[in-house]
């Protein structure tokens, strides 16, 4: 029982960052319909930027997180502007190939810049863990959960309660009509891609100090993000948030009670099972996909 409650707490903390990763991708893959293989690289970029600002430059931890998110948004905008804007309206395979190309370039630029050796980011928070009954959590992880919940809430408000959010929703429902109503559709495309990329970078910046930072850390992150998006239903932000927590629980319970070697396999098994039995995801309205 004690062990179970510890697993649940661990899953809750991972779930927060998975949710960020998933919400970021659901904006790009679910709403813009771009099979974005660079998402994991933006996650890695966030972690490297965190290393650069917090460890090399020695800036404040939270300021570094903010800078990492800004860097992710900047790179996301560049990708959208240079690769996707000229190919707007192209079929899904074409954009997917472009994204695979961009993914290879980004990953190897990271490898070239930072080298293949894993980097660790020391945490400024107290070493002594927070102990509640049988459960102990490091302060770093508590902070990670807090920041990710804040960012999830902020994104939700941005999409659902602001004029910009309304313009985004209008653009992806019916771009032509939105343009007629005076929405700058091109700007909205770039903004949405940048926002999704920024959330991916945020997840990387938060998990970088928890684990270590390596050039290939983005590969699994991309695939897990796809699992979360499919689990939650394409373009469904609440679904992606819940999907992130569900994936974290599946991994944690799977690793704890089945085999730790198969922790990373859980996401893929979930994708296969969900697509076979409920391909529209668990929280989406019905839609033709086959």
């Amino acid at each position: 029982m004690d062990q179970l409650s510890q697993h649940i707490v661990n899953a809750l903390i991972m779930g927060g960052t998975y949710a960020l990763l998933g919400i970021g991708l659901t904006l790009i893959f679910g709403i813009m319909r771009i099979v974005n293989f660079t998402h994991g690289e933006l996650y890695a970029l966030g972690a490297y930027m965190m290393y650069f600002f917090a460890t090399i430059l020695g800036l404040n931890f939270f300021v570094s997180i903010a800078f990492a998110i800004v860097a992710g948004m900047a790179v996301g905008s560049v990708i959208e502007f240079t690769l996707l804007r000229p190919k707007r309206g192209a079929d899904i395979d074409t954009t997917m190939l472009l994204m695979i190309g961009a993914w290879i370039v980004l990953q190897n630029v990271e490898h070239l810049t930072w080298g293949g050796i894993a980097k660790s980011i020391p945490s400024p928070l107290p070493e002594q863990p927070l102990v509640i009954g049988p459960v102990s959590i490091s302060w770093l992880r508590v902070m990670v959960l807090g920041v990710s919940l804040f960012l999830i809430a902020a994104t939700y408000v941005l999409i659902n309660r602001t004029k910009l959010g309304k313009a985004m929703r209008a653009t992806f429902q019916d771009g032509g009509t939105a343009a007629l109503m005076g929405v700058n559709v091109n700007a909205i495309y770039t903004t949405t891609f940048a926002l999704g990329s920024g959330l991916g970078a945020a997840a990387g910046a938060l998990l970088g100090p928890v684990f270590v930072v390596t050039p290939t850390m983005g590969d699994l992150a991309s695939l897990k993000a796809f699992a979360i998006v499919i689990l939650g239903g394409l373009g469904n932000i609440t679904g992606a948030a819940i999907g992130g927590f569900m994936l974290a629980f599946a991994e944690e319970i799977g690793a704890g009670y089945i085999s730790s070697g198969y922790r990373d396999a859980m996401g893929f098994l979930i994708i296969i099972v969900v697509l076979l039995f409920k391909p529209t995801g668990l929280f989406a309205r019905s839609e033709r996909i086959g």
């Binding site: 893959f29 319909r33 099979v35 690769l83 000229p86 190919k87 899904i92 395979d93 074409t94 997917m96 190939l97 472009l98 695979i100 190309g101 961009a102 993914w103 290879i104 370039v105 990953q107 190897n108 630029v109 490898h111 070239l112 590969d219 695939l223 796809f226 699992a227 499919i230 085999s259 070697g261 198969y262 990373d264 396999a265 996401g267 893929f268 098994l269 994708i271 296969i272 697509l275 076979l276 391909p279 996909i289 086959g290």
Partner: protein, 347 residues
Amino acid sequence: MKRFLPYLAVAFFASVPLWLQDQYFLHTLVVTGIFIIAAMSLNLLLGYTGQLSLGHVAFFGIGAYVSALTSLGFSLSIFGVQITHEPWPAVVGVILGTIIAGLCGYLIGKLAFRVRGAYFVIVTISFAEVVRLVSLNWVELTNGPLALPGIPPLTLGFEWTGFATLWGKGQNYYVVLATIVLAYVLIKRIVNSPYGRAMIALRENETLATSVGVSVTKYLVLAAVISGAMAGTAGGLYAHYIQIIDPMVFMFLNTVTMVIMVITGGKGTLAGPLVGGLIFGIAPVILRDYVGPEVQWILYGLLMILIVFVLPEGIVPAVERWFTRKTGNSAAKRSALVLESSKGARS
């Protein structure tokens, strides 16, 4: 001229081991040839049925592992039942690897073709990742990250002719070349048969093809079985040539390499994977004198983006069109016209 081109190409490549002194380059050609077989199998799915499978390396790896384990022998216990397998000849391993990879193609085809587009891509990636994790964690069978060393080389021959063990690069080169020719002829015959036409019809317009009675599942699964089996053969040849395999064969980058080969050469053309495969198989050897592996990968990524922008159909169709314009051959011009008009209808 065009009719004799395949024969000339085969004659040229058959002569290579006779005059090529550089053993390392010959090794590169053997590995390139193996990847070309895999790329050709991917082209059947990607080029002719229009389904982008990004888990193709799974079939390659399954072929490699099945073939290696068949020829090495293994012993493991499942639910208390002890299973021991005595080593079999390497050729049997390659055949079994082909069959089992084909069976996996059947299962994955049956499952994954229930969805399309981006969903299909993600199911295939997930399948490859699950297989990779199994190969990494089922240590009793696969030896996990410690790799399977000492895989015996291929042995060819019959009782009455005596057996020859293929230790050398030149001998393996001819086996790979023969397999490529076989795969080329097989794909050519499939594509020009009613089965191939059904696959192309599904690629061009699935709704229309279904409405005139083309069975979607039947033809797509058939393509997946043949494609998977062919990739399995390539994997088997790889295992017996390199003689050691580890879970790294399942790397996603290997799938990406195959995709780049097919796209660059020209998807949906018979010669596309051969041209793309030769370029991307040999380029690393020439480039490695000048730049490190990371820069090479960056160049690959940029080239892939460039191809999508500049030559979206690939090199082979572009060269064909250029050649037609140059020679002014009326028959070729007519076929090019038909090609253009069918393109127009597609877009």
